[in-house]
């Protein structure tokens, strides 16, 4: 007799809980056999600081049946077109590069980096090959008021208010997706003989049973970590950041420009994120307490914020850099902070939530008898992804030339660099990153992303072993692409509104569905 998986119980609200609830409930909306329940504590707050997303969020919202206009209005959302990394190489005032959200012009036609390096290196790599950098530098939006919902002129993701986002998703899930919302503190777990979770016990609403439990309890990892005792793999030997101090800053004026990208500014022992929403910014200094102390760190944040910070209190959040050894054990799978966390250098936390929710929804085991197989595949998939994210984040550090603090020199110690990254770096001495370097179905960052960081940070390709047999023809093709990009920049700059302008119009008129 097979035991069908019919009831899914998610413990924890916040972004992880509600995206998982929404994705599963939307997929099985017409299936009355599958029920989704979300238990949320009335006393424990959500962490509420995760405000950067990837373009995948557009698809996630579409899959949940959410209108982009409604979402942007309710969550103070703005457009994000990539990340600007300032002062990461040598800390001088003009030291910056972009990791935009679009492929380099002609990426699939010609290997650009050697030709850019030979003939166009007076121009930053991202600016030479991608029109998005200029759009961001000028504070422009990625589309027009006449562009339909979710469609784009330049590829984009969102910056959003984490607290409002959770509230918005909750209302949508409960009103439109038949998600059962239970407000209760989980006090314990009732286990089955095989170690499965039969039910969770609550403060005053009795026991809630389920077939599949999703742990969205944040850093406390109540179910996977605490109850099922899945160990935490500490990655602080690779990525040193262990604390965040954050604050929300008002804009100078109601019509101050809104940045169309995340800004990451390197500091003496870490870096500061700067995210612009409609009516306020969110900034935070993530740092290593081994390389600085809290007073200095708060001082650094206040200096960055300037007078806008006034007498505002900053919030201190300890960070354990790493992830669980497994994510799915027995009938419990962790999504979000309960699975792990790394510094938000490339806004990877929310996309991991989306990918997890998608896999659970799309591959929901039909019955308990096959769940262990799905769990095994889920674990393989996400262990691979966490490793790739760690590699990519570490890349930002190993290419830096800063030596103002041992934080930077320690980061370049080969003992702290994963072998997978070291191997690729060896290959990339002699050729640029290619798609074939990333051949798994579960890749997170494509070759183009590595190119943006490598060449943005001044990594020099050793041209001794390049294939010169077609160099002249390829050089011409590369030049053509770079010229096409220059035209694309001109065109975009002439027709796109500012980010602020478009956001105000969206609030007033909305975006059409077609």
């Amino acid at each position: 007799m097979n035991t069908p998986i019919k009831s899914i119980v998610i413990v924890g609200g916040g972004t992880a809980g509600w995206i998982t609830a929404g994705r599963i409930a939307a997929k099985y909306n017409a299936n009355s056999n599958i029920s989704v329940t979300l238990i949320e504590s009335p006393t424990i707050n959500i962490i509420g600081v995760g405000e950067g997303t990837w373009p995948t969020m557009r698809n996630t919202l579409i899959k949940m049946g959410i209108s982009e206009t409604d979402f942007m209005r309710a969550c103070d959302a703005t457009f994000k077109q990539g990340a600007k990394f300032a002062k990461w190489v040598d800390g001088t005032p003009n030291d910056f590069y972009y990791h935009p959200l679009m492929l380099p012009q002609g990426f699939n036609k010609v290997d650009l980096p050697p030709h850019w390096q030979a003939n166009f290196s007076h121009h930053s790599f991202s600016d030479a090959v991608c029109f998005q950098e200029q759009i961001c530098e000028k504070g422009l939006a990625p589309k027009l008021i006449t562009t339909p919902e979710y469609a784009s002129i330049a590829n984009y993701a969102y910056h959003l208010d984490a607290v409002k986002f959770a509230e918005f998703l909750k209302n949508h899930c409960v009103k439109n997706l038949a998600v059962r919302h239970v407000l209760a503190d989980v006090t314990g777990v009732i286990s089955k003989e095989n170690g499965d979770i039969a039910a969770v016990t609550t403060q005053n609403l009795g026991d809630i049973s389920g077939d599949l439990f999703v742990d969205c309890t944040g850093f406390s990892s109540l179910l996977l970590g605490k109850h099922l005792q899945v160990p935490f793999l500490d990655k602080s030997d690779i990525l040193f950041i262990d604390t965040a101090v954050a604050v929300q800053l008002p804009y100078e004026r109601d019509d101050s420009p809104i940045a169309s990208h995340t800004i990451s500014t390197a500091q003496e022992a870490g870096w500061i994120w700067d995210i612009g929403l409609t009516r306020r910014r969110g900034i935070g200094y993530v740092y290593s307490s081994r390389h600085t102390n809290h007073e200095q760190a708060e001082d650094t944040l206040r200096k960055y914020a300037g007078p806008a910070i006034g007498k505002l209190e900053v919030r201190k959040i300890p960070i354990s850099s790493g992830h669980r050894k497994l994510f799915w054990k027995n009938n419990c799978v962790a999504v979000g902070l309960s699975a792990g966390f790394l510094e938000p250098l490339e806004a990877s936390a929310i996309v991991l939530v989306e990918l997890s929710a998608e896999m659970i929804a799309e591959q929901l085991p039909a019955c308990r008898e096959v769940m262990d197989i799905t769990a095994k595949r889920f674990n393989e998939t996400f262990l691979y992804r966490w490793d790739r994210i760690i590699d990519f984040l570490k890349l930002h550090y190993i290419l830096s030339k800063r030596s103002d603090n041992t934080f930077w020199t320690d980061n370049r110690d080969p003992e702290t660099i994963p072998e997978s990254l070291q191997e690729l770096m060896q290959l990339w001495r002699f050729r640029s990153p290619k798609n074939c370097d990333f051949s798994s179905n579960n890749e997170v960052f494509p070759a183009a992303s590595y190119q943006y960081v490598l060449y943005g940070m001044g990594f020099k390709l050793d041209t001794a072993y390049l294939d010169y047999s077609r160099f002249a023809a390829d050089a011409a093709l590369a030049t053509e692409q770079i010229n096409l990009n220059a035209s694309a920049i001109k065109n975009a700059l002439s027709k796109l509104p500012t980010n602020r302008e478009l956001i105000e119009k969206i609030h007033e008129y909305g975006l059409a569905k077609i």
Partner: protein
């Protein structure tokens, strides 16, 4: 340049309008906003479609006189060759403005710099006694029909959107002289979705008297062929532009 002022019988006692000039001012327009009450008359010769306002992204009903910006295939040699001219054209140089003194009230205003204004011949607005002429009464009726019509037409569009009855219309036209024209940014009735409506939804449309304009819009699309034909004929005889 416009000079927009409220109309009054003393200041504008001798103002006269040249209707031919009013029509001529629309000679370079390839589209104009229209309201529900004129759909049947428009459908005699023009395609009725929907397009987005470039500043707000909001949808509006328009009628087409040409396929490219500045092209009016019904106007040549200084005159219109058409059976019906939309209200938006015939209302010129008048419009409704907000009253300075009373809230919620509108007053008739005039653009005194408009090319159709004369002091000699043409249609007077006020007679010797300062009373409204038939011409001015006609203008008032047009403005009233437009004012009411704009709201009603917006409600109609909202209903179309809520029932997913609009779809993008992309025209790829091969002209006889070998040139090609691509027309974007237009929307028309989504007929497959119209066919899929439930009886309840259809009944609602019928009660609101929306079935007429929906089908009028559908049949009016055929007039695009008419525009293409006029464009081809015009290319043959360039001197007649």
């Amino acid at each position: 340049m416009s000079t927009l002022v409220a109309l009054n019988s003393r200041a504008h006692q001798t103002v006269a309008i040249n209707p031919r000039q009013v029509e001529a001012q629309a000679g370079q327009l390839h589209m104009v906003p229209v309201v529900l009450s004129e759909f049947l008359k428009l459908s005699l010769q023009y395609p009725i479609v929907v397009t987005k306002n470039q500043d707000t992204g909001r949808f509006t009903c328009v009628t087409l006189f040409g396929l490219e910006k500045g092209e009016n295939l019904f106007f040549s040699g200084g005159t219109w060759d058409a059976l019906y001219l939309p209200l938006q054209i015939r209302r010129q140089p008048f419009f409704l403005g907000k009253s300075d003194t009373e809230n919620e009230k509108f007053v008739i205003c005039i653009d005194t710099s408009h090319a159709s204004i004369e002091q000699q011949n043409g249609e007077r607005l006020f007679d010797i006694n300062g009373s409204e002429t038939d011409y001015l009464t006609g203008i008032k009726n047009i403005l009233a029909e437009l004012f009411e019509g704009e709201n009603l037409t917006q409600l109609f569009i909202n209903e179309l959107l809520s029932l997913n009855l609009l779809q993008r219309l992309r025209l790829q036209i091969a002209l006889e002289d070998g040139n090609a024209v691509q027309v974007e940014g237009l929307y028309s009735i989504n007929e497959p979705n119209l066919d899929k409506l439930t009886s309840e939804q259809l009944f609602t449309l019928q009660k609101k008297s929306y079935l007429h304009p929906i089908y009028t819009m559908i049949t009016s699309i055929g007039h695009i062929y008419g525009l293409v034909d006029k464009k081809n004929r015009r290319a043959e005889k360039p001197n007649q532009k």
